[in-house]
């Protein structure tokens, strides 16, 4: 009875029901991110050690030193004619082509502007020199860093959670709001004694509530499939994610505050989301961009959500250490909600 009479509860229920009754929406929030994690995780996360592939020319194949390289488990050696080998090198299909010239010297064909080529050449040359009898003059020891928590898949999962937060907030709020406006339903609602604040709060609230199971589902899947650890406390992960969800819901509300057609909201969404997709460090660190654009990248909400998520999930930093990212999010929240409520088009 009380739920029947609570406008806020009824508005949340309407949103929740509309959402749960669209199977395709469920796929995009649960299925799609899972496929991303699995696909990218498998692509960048083989259990066996990576073997360095390179090509040896037919002429060099019988050379005794090259024979030793072919027996080395660290290498994946292919033998072919020099012309065919160089063609593959130009197409970036192999980092290095090894050959032997007329005087018996070992030749390396590679592109010095390509970091992979330079690195591969150094590793192969080292093996050649050792095979020929060179000894190390300085003692060294290898420390492996492919333990859970520092692999690419570990880096990727918080990035995908951030991307999902942004997509769910902007599409979930923005698209639905404009859909209601196009249907004349916003106007119909304000023709009743409904409080406008209840409506907006329910819109944001139901989206944020959906995000919690969504995120833990993704974290659980990543843990079970790839052993991605959660170093920080669940509470701090939840707090960062909720801050992100609320922020992106506000931005979604702002983007949708005036739009009158589905076409215009779709365009606006892309305008807002594409810079963050590209720059905010979902798939690789945002710090790789030049210094000149860093101030711009660092104020993007997605950059800070992902930074904070990586810090609490992978490093286990406490919430207190996330003051800067959370502060940026708070600014975005204040800005987007204040503006959205001021300019929102109800009729």
């Amino acid at each position: 009875m009380t739920i029947d009479r609570s406008a806020f509860a009824q508005l949340v229920l309407a949103n929740v029901r509309s959402y749960l009754r669209q199977p395709e929406a469920i796929f995009w929030t649960y299925g799609f991110p899972l496929i991303m994690v699995v696909g990218l995780g498998l692509a960048f996360n083989s259990d066996t050690e990576a073997r360095l592939p390179f090509i040896v020319t037919q002429r060099a194949a019988s050379d005794p030193i090259v024979q030793k390289l072919r027996a080395d488990a660290r290498f994946d050696v292919e033998v072919m004619e020099q012309d065919a080998a160089l063609a593959l090198l130009r197409r970036n299909r192999t980092p290095v082509v090894v050959s032997v010239d007329a005087s018996g010297e070992v030749e390396y064909f590679f592109d010095p502007t390509n970091p992979d080529g330079t690195a591969a050449r150094a590793v192969i040359d080292d093996a050649v020199q050792r095979a020929a009898g060179r000894a190390d003059v300085v003692a060294s020891v290898d420390r492996r860093t492919d333990a859970p928590g520092s692999r690419y898949v570990d880096f990727l999962v918080p990035g995908l959670i951030g991307m999902n937060l942004m997509g769910a907030g902007l599409w979930g709020i923005g698209f639905n709001t404009v859909d209601l406006r196009v249907r004349n339903l916003l106007k119909r609602m304000v023709a009743t004694p409904m409080r406008r604040g209840h409506f907006l709060l329910a819109l944001v609230g139901s989206r944020v509530v959906f995000f919690v199971p969504e995120m833990f589902f993704l974290l659980l899947a990543a843990k079970l499939l790839f052993g991605v650890p959660i170093a920080g406390s669940y509470a701090s992960v939840l707090f960062v994610a909720l801050s992100g969800a609320v922020t992106f819901a506000g931005i979604g509300l702002l983007v949708a505050s005036r739009a009158r057609t589905i076409e215009s909201i779709s365009g606006l969404m892309n305008l807002v989301m594409i810079p963050m997709w590209l720059c905010s460090g979902i798939f690789f660190s945002s710090e790789r961009f030049p210094d000149a654009v860093q101030p711009f990248i660092q104020v993007l909400p997605l950059t800070q959500v992902i930074n904070a998520l990586r810090a609490v999930i992978l490093v286990g930093e406490p919430l207190a250490a996330q003051a800067f990212p959370l502060g940026i999010l708070a600014l975005w929240c204040a800005l987007s909600y204040t503006l959205a409520i001021r300019v929102f088009r109800w009729v």
Binding site: A9, R17, T192
Partner: protein, 313 residues
Amino acid sequence: MAVTCRQLFKRYETGRAAVDAVNGLDLEVRRGECFGLLGPNGAGKTTTVEILEGLIEPTSGDVEVLGMRWGGGRDHELRQKLGITLQETRLRDKLSVRETLRMFRSFYRDGIEPEAAMALVALEEKADAWISKLSGGQRQRVAVACALIGRPELVFLDEPTTGLDPQARRQLWDVVADIRRAGNTILLTTHYMDEAEKLCDRVAVVDHGRVIALGAPRDLISRLGGEHVIEFSLEPMDQRPVDADVFAAVEGVTQSTEESGRFVLTVSEPHRSIPGCLALLSRENLELKSLTTRHVNLEDVFVNLTGRHLRDD
């Protein structure tokens, strides 16, 4: 009075041109009556009711609804007493009829239960059906149920039957007649003259944003001077044009017009005027192609006032 508005103006500035959607409209709706705004598309009916509903601000003019004014700090109070259907609202597809009504019910302090609202519009059987599964007429009845759920004192229905098939229209008319009988005040807009005649106690004929005639449908019709219309067309015997005025001389004909080959005579007693007409035709050597008689309707009133039809289709 349930509604009074005086010298209502609404101007839309669209680039260089300005459009006066409402142009000095006066209106009074009495408590307990069903009042109709009748006019063609674009006459300003919807703009007028949306101003009365507090959804649009007028450019100028004075509006009083249930003794209150919009923007006077009591809007919320006023909304509690109004029930509204907009011209076109697509309710949420994936909610059931009951869920939709329960949501609308939660906005009102006082009201009826969703079950009772469904009974008012004869949709009990569809209580658990999603909106997307309903026909156009059923959706419109859900919209009316949403308007009634807060036990309103005043109900606005904007083009309630536009786009519905004849059977669905009649079902909706029954619903409106029931609301009227229950003692509610209704203000509806329509461009169907039969709808206005059937449902409304009084009608304001609206054209170009102002009221051009006001009164009970019967009164408006009787002002044309006759209760009946004789319509006929002639065989094209020769190219001689026939002036409609020649029929004005026939006994009992109060008005005579011609439009694209169809002659329309307004008469009080067809059985007296038809023989006179036939005699005139045979004298002039003209042959009838068709002849029908019918009652005068509000369409004739509108044509008489404006020279145009309500719907040009």
